[in-house]
Each structure stands twice: as C-alpha cells, then as structure tokens.
C-alpha cells in the first residue's frame, strides 16, 4: 500500500454511484460496523457527503466517534481507494441537500418509492486521507485526461442554475429585482449594485432596486450622460473600472494643473 497525495477531484469516477462503496465506523464501546453505501458524494476538495435516509448504526456511531473509513472503486477499472474521514456536520437544507435529495427522488420516482427514499440529511465528512490500494488489480490506471461532465461542471453554469432556480420562485417584480441583486452578490461577489430604469423621453434613469448601499436610493434619478452611471447608459456599453482612486487622483491633478495654469 502506498500513501499518495491524491486529490479528490482526480477520483471523480468513484463519486458517480456506479459501484457501491463500503463505510466502516466504530461505536464508543469499540464495536466496529460496516455497511454498503450507494454513493459517496463529492462536496469540495476536502469534503464528501453521505446520504442519511434511515436512522442506523452508522448515523449513531459517527455522533459518538466521528471517524469513518470508506473503500470505493473506480468503475472504469475497479481500482480501489480508501478514504479516512471525520464526520463534520449534517445539512438538511441548502444546495448540497437539495441536489442529493433530488437525485434520490429521481431514482425513487421510477420505482414508486418516493416516500421511502426520502433524504433526511446530507452528512458531510472531512477527508483526512486518501489511499490508493496497490496490489488490488492488474489493470493500468485510466488515463488522467478523462473528465467527468457532471463533477466538473463549470462553476459559471452552477451559478446560472442557482440563479434560475431562485428567480423562478419570485412571485412579484420586486422579488425578481431583489433576488437578482442578492444573487449578484452571492454568486459573483458584486456587493454593491443597483437597477435603474431608463426614462428615454425625459433623458433620465430611475433607481428601482438597490443592494449593499447604506442608503437604498430607490427613487433617485440620474440624467443620461451624467456621471459614471449616466455615461454608461448613454454609451450602452458595460464598463469595468479598476484603481478608481488612482484614476480620480490623476484626474484631479490634471484639473488642478489646468486651473493653476489658467
């Protein structure tokens, strides 16, 4: 056996639920327990999740003694990997829970088992160590260039999915506006944002939603061509500005110089 510095992402094939994995835990009285689990879910580079559907020994054990050990197989070649885990926390709301729940429900709906196959929680484990078991198979490792389309969905698409889901839930215009700005903050890091409606007849822009500013500014107006907002509106182009303070200092220096020279 060889300890390796394997990255969880490299083992994406083990997280597809194609071959069941085994999970061992240990009660506080020292009795080991081992169970098959249908899928180990990839959460992020340091965490995996396991579905909690029924109250069972695993569920009780990790709350007494948080350590666990998983053996999983790569379905392409049946290479084996051992993961040493520590139970971190349980999630019963949020994107991870919802996506695991939907996956279970989708399978359950085919077998008329939607009531039985209900996800109670996503149990999240920290991955302490990953070991590739040498001496398990004679087959060579699969080519590392292969990439899963599901585990490695572009993060922009993940954001797009979340945004679509949230906007679809909005019942009124105000909710659409607020959710849009909130999502720009959460998903893209735009902590300050506004939506302005163009009043073309009067050459003005009217603020109808605002997020992150001390004063919400809804109802305030700016003329088309006035200031940054007005100029962007007139140009009908997006504008990305960095080093604003440097730019402003430079502009002020030019202005002061021009004034001094008359």
């Amino acid at each position: 056996m060889k300890k390796t510095s394997l990255q969880l992402e490299d083992l994406w094939a083990c997280f597809q639920g194609i071959v069941p994995a085994a999970l061992s835990t240990c009660a506080s009285d020292g009795t080991p327990n081992i169970t098959f689990i249908s899928q180990v879910y990839y959460v992020d580079t340091k965490h995996v999740a396991i579905s909690f559907q029924f109250f069972n020994k695993t569920h009780r054990n990790v709350r007494e003694n948080p350590f666990a050990c998983v053996m999983a197989l790569d379905p392409r070649t049946l290479h084996a990997y051992r993961f040493r885990l520590r139970f971190a926390h349980s999630e019963s709301t949020g994107p991870l829970f919802e996506s695991m729940s939907l996956q279970l429900q989708a399978v359950a709906s085919y077998s008329g088992m939607t009531d039985v196959f209900r996800l109670l929680a996503a149990d999240v484990y920290e991955v302490l160590d990953v070991e590739c078991l040498e001496g398990f198979t004679r087959l060579p490792f699969p080519q590392p260039s292969e990439r899963s389309s599901r585990l490695f969905v572009d993060s922009g698409l993940v954001s797009l999915r979340l945004i679509s889901e949230r906007l679809n839930k909005a019942q009124a215009l105000d909710e659409v506006l607020q959710a849009s700005l909130q999502l720009l903050d959460e998903q893209f890091g735009f902590h300050h944002s506004k939506i302005l409606l163009a009043d073309e007849r009067n050459g003005k822009l009217l603020t109808i939603a605002s997020h992150g500013y001390a004063e919400n500014g809804v109802g305030s107006e700016v003329g088309v061509g006035e200031g940054l907002i007005g100029m962007v509106a007139r140009a009908r182009r997006t504008l990305y500005l960095s080093a604003m303070d440097h730019g402003l200092r430079y502009a002020r220096a030019v202005r002061d110089r021009a004034e001094a020279l008359g």
């Binding site: 056996m1 085994a22 999970l23 080991p32 327990n33 098959f36 069972n56 053996m71 004679r138 087959l139």
Partner: protein
C-alpha cells in the same frame, strides 16, 4: 447459530467487506477475497491479502473486534456478521480453493449486473491470511427501512 437464509446467502457470490478498528477506535475497512462458513454455523473464515488489508490484519490481534458485511450484487440481499476473531493463519491450499470458488461465483454476479468480466478477472484475488471468527450477532442489512434489524440467535 447463523440462520438458514444467511447460510444460503454466504454460499453465493457475495461481495465481502470487513470492518475493524485500532486501539484509538479509528475504523478501517477492506475487501475480503471470499468467506467460508463452518459446519457449526457459528464460525466463519474470511480470506485477506496483506497487500490491501495490512491495517486490518494489524488490528485483529490488538482487539479481535470484527464486522463483516456481505451483499449479493444481483438482488442487494445483505447481512452483517459481528463477532470476535479467534485467530489468523497463513492460507492453506484448501482456503485458496474456497477463495477461488467464491471468486468464480462473485464474477458471475458482477457479470449479471453488467460489469465487464475483464475488470473483475484482473483483480489480484490472492489471499495470504485466513481469519477465523466466532459470529455473535447477525443483522439484516438489505437496503430499506428494516436494515439493521438483528436476526437469529
């Protein structure tokens, strides 16, 4: 005594996984290359290879606590045996034959669920250590709400 239904299950091409723990209660798991049930129906022998089960083999003399879960791939019928290790020894030719029989049955199960036979046949299922355990508890682990129920005596 292990109930009849479980005896029957253990004689088919089941996937055999083994759970142990060390002195600090750190769990370990590994795959066994077959299982054999003795005529007394209380003793089972599992076959391990040092190459992949080093830590498990270290844990056994330390505390002897063991859990073995067996599942049949084609119908998910699963049981868990818990008990105490009686001893470990190098495998004999009889053990190797038992392991080979199990491997053939297991490969047939895997083929039946669509796993290409070339994958399972490439496994280095060559046990080096036989572990004899006394089974104290048997649990039904077939997936579903009844999983975890103790069965038999």
């Amino acid at each position: 005594m292990i109930p009849d239904s479980i005896v029957a299950l253990l004689q088919t091409g089941i996937s055999v996984m083994v759970g142990t723990r060390d002195a600090s209660l750190m769990p370990e798991c590994t795959r066994a290359w077959g299982i054999h049930i003795a005529a007394d129906r209380r003793t089972v022998t599992i076959f391990l290879s040092k190459a992949i089960a080093g830590k498990t083999i270290e844990n056994l003399p330390e505390n002897g606590k063991i859990a073995v879960t067996c599942t049949r791939p084609t119908d998910h019928i699963t049981c868990q045996l818990k008990g105490q290790v009686r001893g470990t020894r190098p495998v004999t030719s009889v053990d190797r034959d038992a392991s080979k029989r199990w491997h053939r049955e297991f490969m047939a199960e895997l083929t039946a669920i669509g796993v290409p036979s070339s994958l399972g046949e490439a496994w280095i299922a060559e046990p080096t250590v036989a572990v004899e355990m006394t089974v104290t508890d048997v649990f039904d682990q077939t997936p579903g709400p009844g999983a975890g129920k103790k069965i038999g005596q």
